[in-house]
Symmetry: C2
Subunit: 406 residues, 2 copies
């Protein structure tokens, strides 16, 4: 569609933005059917700049958890905006939100706020080092914890020293975790784990109880920090923290994405063990006191709690998963659907090059459903059964296209 | 004021936030007269949670450049918000803003957007390393470039490796810069300089032409990046970039604070020399595509341009500076007022312990003007002559109090 508005914007972008777009929302690795630019969004729907409407299975890559333009959130944000946003200090909403996080997140004795998920994971690591006086940080191979030199997946511009104190283990592999702890010796500051394994382009894995418990035992024994990176999963699995159903409580957690239904905010929660360390680490940003995003977060978390939104997302996720399985069977395809149903990862058997996934997604997109071929997706509480059925209708065309791929 | 709302909020905050508050907006180093929490803001005025009104000389530590609730900015933001904010990809406003930055900032061939000033400075450094294949980054002693391990002023939680490739020089000291370049040898990636010297608790210094030109010559000769950290000063000195009046153009610039009149946004601009490197560095965040802050930035930059806002800020700054000088003379005090008039640093002679400054600020605060004793301040285009005169009236009480300090 050479004369499409999206194409014209891409051409303009190519001249003023390196590569035409940066980061995770660049469509350069997606099929040509994917729009780069969006006109508007409402509930669980998005419209691209050429006016095409989609049932959205990405939810802005996580932030949209209650639906775009959610009335309660927007009213709370508007009320705070009419008072003030970025002021010379925080508003009362900072205290209210910190109290709400402490009340909601099981391990939390305190909270601090930031803007990016990367801010939160980086602050957790820094606080863990400050609180232990040690340096080694254990991270799982392939886990994504942000986009700055210590953790970014691309090594361009990264020096060896940026990662000098990282030690890797394999997610859910107790022996590899024990070996990494052994290697850290008496310099172990923290073990950092994502809430579940949600690496790009591979099956998701829920943490095993054995792995989670051992991570807690090892860090407790070493008086090091167990950090759960709940940036992606936070508020979608358990409002008390994604490891709460496992009975394992971290020392520090990082949240962002869904915390304020799309308003830019991140948070860390911590235990009293790391309270003093948190006072010593200097972390801040020009907009970290913006009151509007905090008001939105309070409304978001209370709405999630009061409307049983996680159950709604799970119901939509179950319906999507069983519908996709049925559509795959109909077209003679084998799917692997992994991870929490509300955060679907859909991969095709025998599809090492992702050509079936690409064909599926492109065809489904043309029929009005926005899936992703290699990244986990997200459902929101705004996805009704009817919305899921519309997505499944589009998915049927997607499966037919995937079935044509050798 | 033990029963004040501010005090009650501080007590609640102390239990759920480490130290009661983190970062640059914590009042723990300020006099007890300073409120920690704010109720609302409008134009160049702020109200604390106990209802006290202040003429604001801090402008939210920079972001507020046109005045709170600026009609044009708010309307642009509201229009975009009614469409969508955080979507599956950017809106058309991303392209418009990148084009506007390229058109406005003299050295810019391209732009990228982030959320924090620290995001922007860190991305500049990473892009410089990627583009040169080298590691050493030269920074001025005492300059503030953000609050992550490579640059944060506190060393708690920071490892030696986080700063392994930093080499220090003294701002405005050509010989020290040359020595640092010499030390970097063939591993020089970048020289990073703030737009002017605005270190905390000391006189500000504008860059000398000799220093700026030599920084450009040395980086050009080494094919390294000259990075101007314009996070704090950007859009207050020259819309084309703060070093444009010096005739010196950087390769990369970092902007944030005032770029969207308080909406959370940061930007880097760069030359074609670093365009390809910028495509290789993976930088992103969940909210970096939020369209509302971009719409606000477009409106802010156009309004700054079309209303000659910098001249307004300079006029207010001149009036404040001469008024403060007169008030100091009246009370037998000697002031040092340094840096751009629109970003005042006011220090008292013979005040090594800042006790005069603290007395001045506390008394002025009680009279309705919010000054800062040790950090540079900010004027906005919303500060009229009448507002400055109100601040000067309060400053007179402040000078009387400062004159009482031995």
């Amino acid at each position: 569609m050479i004369n499409s508005k999206d194409q014209l914007l891409r051409e303009r972008a190519a001249s003023v933005i390196p590569g035409g777009m940066w980061g995770h929302m660049s469509t350069r690795y997606l099929g040509s059917a994917y729009p780069q630019f969006f006109e508007r969004a409402d509930g669980c729907r998005v419209w691209d700049v050429d006016g095409r409407e989609y049932i959205d299975l990405m939810c802005s890559w996580g932030p949209n958890i209650l639906g775009h333009h959610h009335r309660v959130v927007e009213e709370a944000a508007a009320r705070q905006r009419s008072l003030g946003d970025a002021m010379n200090g925080p508003g009362e909403v900072l205290v209210e939100l910190a109290e709400l996080l402490v009340k909601t997140v099981a391990h939390a004795d305190w909270a601090m706020l930031q803007k990016n998920g990367t801010d939160a994971t980086t602050a957790c690591v820094t606080i863990a080092r400050a609180g232990t006086g040690r340096r080694k940080v254990l991270v799982a191979r392939g886990s994504y914890h942000g986009a700055v030199p210590w953790c970014t997946p691309s090594l361009a511009g990264v020096t060896a020293e940026d990662r000098a104190h990282l030690i890797h283990f394999d997610y859910n592999d107790v022996a590899s975790l024990e070996a990494a702890v052994e290697q850290a010796g008496n310099d172990l500051a923290a073990v950092v784990v994502t809430a579940f394994r949600h690496d790009i382009a591979r099956d998701q894995e829920l943490p095993t109880a054995a792995f989670a418990k051992r991570a807690r035992e090892l860090t407790t024994a070493a008086d090091a920090a167990l950090i759960v990176d709940d940036v992606r999963a936070g508020f979608r699995i358990d409002l008390a923290g994604s490891w709460e159903p496992l009975g394992v409580r971290p020392d520090l957690s990082a949240f962002s994405k869904a915390i304020a239904n799309g308003y830019p905010l991140a948070a860390i929660t911590g235990t009293d063990r790391f309270r003093e360390a948190a006072t010593k680490v200097y972390v801040t940003g020009s907009f970290w006191y913006g009151a509007v995003a905090m008001a939105a977060a309070i409304a978001t978390i209370k709405t999630l709690r009061d409307t049983n939104a996680i159950a709604s997302m799970n119901a939509a996720g179950e319906r999507l998963r069983s519908g996709l399985d049925a559509a795959a069977r109909k077209h003679g395809l084998l799917l692997r659907q992994t991870g929490p149903v509300s955060m679907p990862m859909v991969l095709f058997d025998g599809d090492a090059e992702f050509s079936k996934a690409d064909a599926f997604c492109s065809a489904a997109l043309r029929e009005g459903a926005y899936f992703h071929p290699r990244h986990n997706m997200f459902l929101s509480a705004a996805h009704t059964a009817g919305d899921v059925d519309l997505a499944l209708h589009a998915a049927d065309a997607g499966m037919a296209a995937a079935a044509q791929v050798a």
